[in-house]
Amino acid sequence: MPPSHLLKGDPAHPPRVDRMIQLFHVTKYYEGCLALSDISVRIEKGECVLLTGPSGAGKTTLLKLIFGSEHPDDGQILVQNRNIARLRRADVPYHRRTMGFVLQDFKLLPHRNVFENVALPLIIRGLSSFESRRKVIEALRAVGMEHKQTTQASVLSAGEQQRACIARAIVNSPIILLADEPTGNLDPHLTMEIAELFKAINARGTTVMMATHNQQVVEQLNGRILRLDSGHLLSDQGASA
């Protein structure tokens, strides 16, 4: 169990803001099958964490738990000192707005152009069009897609689609960026480009947590490696002290 002050917000023991994600004995089952078993991890602000392991190891489940798409069957998850396991259903969208999520299969609105796709999180937050425009251009510039802003998403190449997704994930300036096999559909050259983007985003202080199979990406990002297998945490390499 986490210390009580983390769950209740005890003013006598203010939470440490540099602890971005904390998992305490997290267990998750899917229809009786074990997906994650007794996982305890602490991720600090600005860390770059790579979740590795074979298919079915529990990498995606771990990301989903942090994102609030799933509830743990046991244990506690604190994201920015907020207990996700106790999050009310109505609060989940607000929790998601504090982080970005990049998926393998892009998830862009095909009938919308790049600008509109990237601006969506800002529309949801109700930002003014002037402020939205500024932030979208900034995010597109960060991923090198400024010149494609009027292009319809459906005509973009795979690499461009993933760049647009990354721009959408960072447009809200999230403190945490989650990515589930973001290079899974890309060739080696594009994989390196995307990995480089994540490295740059992490260098700006964003906590990055990425699930990947790709050894090249692991080497290029040179972050902390959490190795999972059959729901168990096998190793934790490069954890900060």
Partner: protein, 287 residues
């Protein structure tokens, strides 16, 4: 997310709604007109009250007022003994000589009652007749009991039939439209997933789809109403041209404006409710 980006499914939704509501509307229009027709026939039901022969004119006026006060009576016509004689002479001028020399008119005075414009029932008419017969100034009451019983039976069967057929058609319409809206919704699941991924609340996500459902339902019912109006006008034109049912052609009428508006509102509500149930049924199991 707009109707334009999903033209095909939106169009299918509108067309399905339009055809389903046209079928249901055709039944309602038929029922509405048959009901009107029976109402006309019902207006022809008459009860004739014969006052006592020795009734004084003032008492006859009092009797007339008492009967007229009954809510079951729509209108009342008094025919005096003299009027009855004149009517006979007018209708049978060749036989008028038979009555010469009789002095006072041999015909009784009568009060012809027309029933109020509500569904007649044998019981209600019998009650009315009993009430009239108990009046001390009334000699006898005459009415066509068989005809009223038959009409009551026809109306009862028609109402039961309409309730069953209407219920089945309404249920079928609701099911078809709800499924159409649900299909349209499934084509948008990917969009909804994306909106949830970036922190869209259920309300934020639902509103555009509810509006879309309302537009599909509203346009569908509007088109259905236009089909029905067009079909009705064509039917009336044919009847006038062929003169098949003579004077009865004027009996047919289209839905009143209030009912037409109700049909459109019903379509809009169906679209909204269909989308709402589809969305929440789907979202309920997802965080």
């Amino acid at each position: 997310m707009s109707l334009r980006t999903h033209q095909a499914s939106t169009l299918i939704g509108i067309i399905t709604t339009a055809f389903t509501l046209t079928s249901f509307g055709t039944f309602l229009l038929l029922y509405h007109n048959v009901h009107n027709l029976i109402g006309r026939v019902q207006q022809n039901i008459q009860i004739i009250v014969y006052p006592k022969d020795d009734i004084q004119p003032q008492m006859l006026q009092d009797l007339k007022q008492v009967i007229q006060a009954d809510p079951a009576i729509e209108s009342l016509t008094l025919t005096s003994k003299k009027d009855a004689l004149n009517d006979f002479k007018h209708q049978f001028p060749d036989e008028a000589y038979l009555l010469e020399g009789l002095g006072e008119s041999p015909f009784p005075a009568s009060l012809v009652l027309n029933l109020a414009n509500t569904i007649p029932s044998t019981d209600r008419v019998s009650n009315l007749v009993n009430r009239l017969q108990q009046n001390p100034h009334v000699e006898r009451v005459r009415y066509n009991r068989d005809w009223i019983e038959r009409l009551t039976l026809i109306i009862t069967y028609m109402e039961i039939g309409a309730l069953i057929i209407g219920g089945v058609l309404a249920l079928a319409s609701i099911t078809i439209i709800a499924n159409t809206v649900q299909l349209a919704f499934y084509t948008r699941q990917e969009e909804i997933e994306i909106l949830r991924l970036i922190g869209g609340t259920n309300l934020f996500i639902s509103i555009p789809y509810m509006i879309e459902g309302a537009v599909i339902g509203g346009l569908g019912s509007g088109i259905a109403l236009s089909f029905l109006r067009g079909g009705f006008e064509l039917f009336q034109h044919k009847i006038h041209t062929l003169n098949v049912i003579g004077g009865f052609s004027s009996v047919f009428e289209f839905f009143p404006l209030s009912f037409s508006l109700l049909l459109i509102i019903g379509g809009i509500l169906l679209g909204c409710v269909g989308t709402f149930t589809s969305m929440y049924g789907w979202m309920r199991f997802r965080l």
